[in-house]
């Protein structure tokens, strides 16, 4: 049983398209996150939701919109894709969002924008 799953694993698309990445966790956690790993390999936080409430919203273009239909799901929708959006996107979840909680990561979605 995969704890944190993401679909799709690979996504290749053209500039200007709109795409979504889905994330689901079966750990019963209250907090979920989206990270972006760019070409320089830095993992950077984008968003975090706690019980469907947006807690972290980093300086991310508003073309990126997270949506949390319930505690177990956090989807990432990207409008008008640009070349610079090419990256690996990781979803993660943690129990309650305190600073000592362990974050569990999904396997990542590699997005390539042509």
């Amino acid at each position: 049983d995969t704890a944190v799953s993401q679909t799709p694993k690979y996504l290749v698309t053209q500039m200007g398209n709109d795409k979504s990445i889905k994330c689901e966790q079966n750990l019963g956690h209250d907090t979920m996150y989206w990270y972006k790993q760019d070409s320089k390999k830095f993992l950077k936080i984008m968003f975090s939701y706690n019980n469907k409430e947006l807690i972290i919203n980093e300086t991310v273009p508003n073309r990126f919109s997270p949506k949390s239909p319930d505690k177990a799901h956090l989807n990432l929708h990207i409008n008008s894709l640009e070349l610079g959006d090419s990256a690996v996107y990781f979803c993660a979840s943690s129990k309650g969002g305190t600073r000592t909680d362990t974050q569990y990561f999904g396997p990542g979605t590699r997005l390539t924008v042509l």
């Binding site: 944190v4 209250d30 907090t31 996150y33 320089k40 390999k41 830095f42 993992l43 950077k44 936080i45 975090s48 939701y49 706690n50 019980n51 409430e53 807690i55 972290i56 990781f90 993660a92 943690s94 309650g96 969002g97 305190t98 600073r99 000592t100 909680d101 362990t102 974050q103 569990y104 990561f105 999904g106 396997p107 990542g108």
Partner: protein, 115 residues
Amino acid sequence: DQQVKQNSPSLSVQEGRISILNCDYTNSMFDYFLWYKKYPAEGPTFLISISSIKDKNEDGRFTVFLNKSAKHLSLHIVPSQPGDSAVYFCAASATGLQGAQKLVFGQGTRLTINP
């Protein structure tokens, strides 16, 4: 402005010897530090952590050392095993955020254990 830095992109160590991975940070508000391990095509997995009130935390073959005055932490793996070959990320967080843990990651060090 990268607040967490891992200046060695790669490290090669012989099996059975000690692996030492280093990490520096600039934000003095960070008070909790973690190491994550990542295999290819997988997400990072938590390895070990340390609070700023301690200077050492040990878990089996893994020990993390924290030097607050130098804003430096290191991960020691001894003895190193082939299965330890992976990318290791250092991460840090600060208190003050309710409901979520905002981790700041370094860029990772690729560790290769040679038989």
